[in-house]
């Protein structure tokens, strides 16, 4: 591995040693808060924007967790060279647990933003909310979130700890051990992600329900990860921290997965829509109704075209997936669409945030982005960027070249 070049050394020094990213992130969040207080509904606007940004970075880390567990589960060898980057991307899960406090603490204090089911008056007057009160209740909600983050933290720590233990020397027994633990981990992951999506995202509209919603958020997680992974690999290679161990074949395979999960997202999004559209039951259509009004209709159409149709045809060609600039372009575009998707899920249901997207949303994204990427960057200096001790690494590096 190359040493950092002098040019990048200054940047790294600023970002890591002087905590530049953290400072910038907190700065953005403070500005977002200040700007929000000039809005009509400061709390509604700010809480919704924060939730969207929080779920955005959570989705990347959860996607990375899914990827790591999956590689161990199926005993994949092609991905060993890029697995460590995914392990690094799932590392901020602990930080995200802390970052959930700005959502959870106000809830315990009785705030009805962004979750209006917590409104003391409505939970008595509103028939549906009153019936759902045993589940949608602040203390129980916080309790569940603690379970989710607890499970995720355990999974993330376990797999990255054992993976780093292998760096000391090739130990096949650790690979086997991780494979054994990957099946129950995947099960726990599936259940917690499903319910976390219900709690964090679906409950912004407590009247509405969709049993496929957890899968929808998971599809977003996978798209986010397979878009983020090539970008981080590229940055690592460009800065000289990663050499030719990662080849065009790895990018190509990540491109295939990005293509596949883009189609999967479209499939799940349409499955959710068509059943509700066909049954035409008011208690279900109300959610889409809010997203077919005013500016949200435009966003809905944008998602169909931008999150599915364009990337589907754009990523279809092998040439595009093997062309790094083209692949990275689509990856950035899909990350943007994923953010818009989360905005579309949250904002139309939060009182005070229904008017549209604003500067506060962008600032919250930048703010949490600063904190999240600082955590990723710090983590990347804590270990090698490839699992040098994994017995399958030579095979992964040679990959298709042999």
């Amino acid at each position: 591995m190359n040493q950092s070049q002098p040019a990048t050394a200054g940047i790294v020094d600023f970002l890591v040693e002087r905590r530049g990213l953290e400072k910038a992130g907190i700065g953005f969040l403070v500005i977002a808060t200040v700007i929000a207080f000039f809005e009509d509904s400061p709390l509604g606007k700010l809480s919704a924007a924060y939730l969207v940004a929080f779920m955005f970075f959570l989705s990347i880390s959860l996607g990375a967790m899914f990827f790591v567990i999956l590689q161990h589960l199926v005993g994949a060898q092609w991905s060993v060279a890029i697995r460590r980057i995914a392990e690094i991307l799932m590392a901020p899960i602990g930080l995200l647990g802390v970052l959930s406090l700005p959502i959870l603490v106000p809830l315990l204090l009785g705030s009805s933003y962004p979750y209006w089911w917590n409104n003391a008056v409505l939970r008595v007057d509103d028939y549906i909310v009153s019936k759902k009160t045993p589940y949608l209740e602040a203390t129980f909600f916080v309790f569940r979130c603690m379970i989710y983050f607890g499970v995720w933290k355990i999974i993330a720590s376990y797999f990255s700890r054992l993976s780093r233990l292998q760096d000391g020397g090739p130990r096949a027994d650790l690979t086997e051990q991780m494979q054994r633990k990957s099946a129950p981990s995947m099960l726990c992951f599936a259940i917690t992600v499903n319910f976390a999506a219900f709690d964090f995202l679906m409950s912004v509209d407590p009247h509405w329900f969709s049993s496929i919603f957890g899968v929808y958020y998971f599809a977003g997680c996978a798209v986010a990860l397979f878009a983020t992974l090539p970008i981080f690999l590229f940055i690592a290679q460009r800065s000289g921290r990663l050499g030719s161990e990662v080849t065009v074949e790895h990018y190509h395979d990540l491109g295939k997965l990005l293509f596949g999960f883009t189609a999967f997202w479209g499939y799940i999004a349409f499955s959710q829509y068509v059943l509700i559209w066909y049954a035409n039951i008011p208690e279900e259509t109300v959610w889409y109704g809010a997203r077919e009004k005013g500016v949200w209709m435009g966003v809905s159409l944008l998602l169909i075209v931008g999150h599915f149709v364009l990337p589907f045809f754009g990523l279809m060609s092998r040439k595009v997936r093997r062309n790094r600039p083209a692949l990275l372009g689509w990856a950035c575009f899909l990350l943007l669409m994923h953010w818009i998707d989360l905005i579309w899920l949250v904002l139309p249901s939060v009182p005070g945030a229904k008017t549209g997207v604003g500067l506060v949303d962008l600032l919250c994204l930048l703010g949490l982005g600063g904190l999240w990427s600082a955590s990723v960057l710090r983590e990347s200096y804590a270990a090698h960027l490839i699992p040098i001790g994994d017995p399958a690494l030579p095979k992964s590096i040679r990959f298709h070249a042999e």
Binding site: V274, Y278, M316
Partner: protein, 413 residues
Amino acid sequence: MSDETKKEIRVVGVLAQFSGKQTLVKAASEVRSKGFKDVEAYSPFPIHGIDGALGIRPTILPWLVLIAGLGGGVLAMAGQWWTNTVDYPYIISGKPMFSLPANIPVTFEVMILSAASVAFTGMLALNRLPRFGQPLLRNNRFLRVTDDGFFLLVSDDEVAEEKIRQALEEAGATDIEVVTESVEESKIPVPLVYGAVILACFALIPPLMIASARGTTSQKPRLHTWFDMDFQPKLKTQTPSNLFADGRAMRPRIKGTVRRGGLVKDTDTGYTSIPAVGTPGGDSVQEWKVEFPMEVTDSMMDRGRQRFNIQCAVCHGKAGYGNGLATIRALELQQGTWIQPTSLHADHVRQQPVGQIFNSITNGVRKMPAYKDQITPEDRWAIVLYVKALQLSQNATLEDVPADMRETLKASE
């Protein structure tokens, strides 16, 4: 084997074995660089880089699959559009005739089906498969190709065999031999051809039977392959039933109840005045209304015609002569209980004031049942208006027609 029975022999090519995949790839590009074009490689597993070494251009199969997928999608969408909006428009759960969400699943399935079919058949066709004989499989050495054998086959009719041998030797082949096949064997066996023709003839029978059935009429009831909902364990109206004590399938109204929307309103009367409650046959005299209780408009006439054609025409006929479809059918069946409805153009009906016709619809006359539960008072008045118009239409003179329309009426006669 004597000379007479000796079959015609054709050289397939020169087969060379190599020790491993690297040497195979290397040999392939070497042999090709010497100008041999028809070089084919055989190995126990796919080898990366062999495509380039053999000079195989990227396959057009992905494009075929893309075209098939898009074509299938367009076809499916067009088919659904045509069946749902042109051929058999049918409203399903209040949705528009052509609505995209409902059509996506079928479109998706047809896209996948056509793409997959073309991928499968296209792959076979591009590889010139299936074949009736593979001469290489008669070569004992070649059988190792499914195990650990790596082979190159070079075919070139123009170049002498020796030259090919030499090129392969230089490329590092461990064994070289010429593979031949008999021309006879590469042809499709004759019995197979006959079998295929006979099968094709048999396959024609079902479509011919269907075609002949569609072209002819039959007095027999249709074959019930699937019963769908044609026979249901339910009681139909106007049929006897031994489920209830009175033997009727239909249940009479329970005393003291009113059907939802069945209450008689104050405006729901054909009289100008009604006797005061408690004074039967009292002071005020009942008289039929001679004027409509509301303003008569074109839209009321349209409504009346629509309601008349729905509610009245089945018995009274569309023109009101008492010859509706139900009447025709009942008289054909010679149902003794059926009484032909009165012609609305009979003199005594024509002389009835509007109030009396309204009353007939509301409360029924003789065998005609009351329609006050089925038709709202406003619609009943609209029907009365239309009946009046019908009566006028059948007994009008030329003077009744507006002056400017008379010429066109004469001309059309």
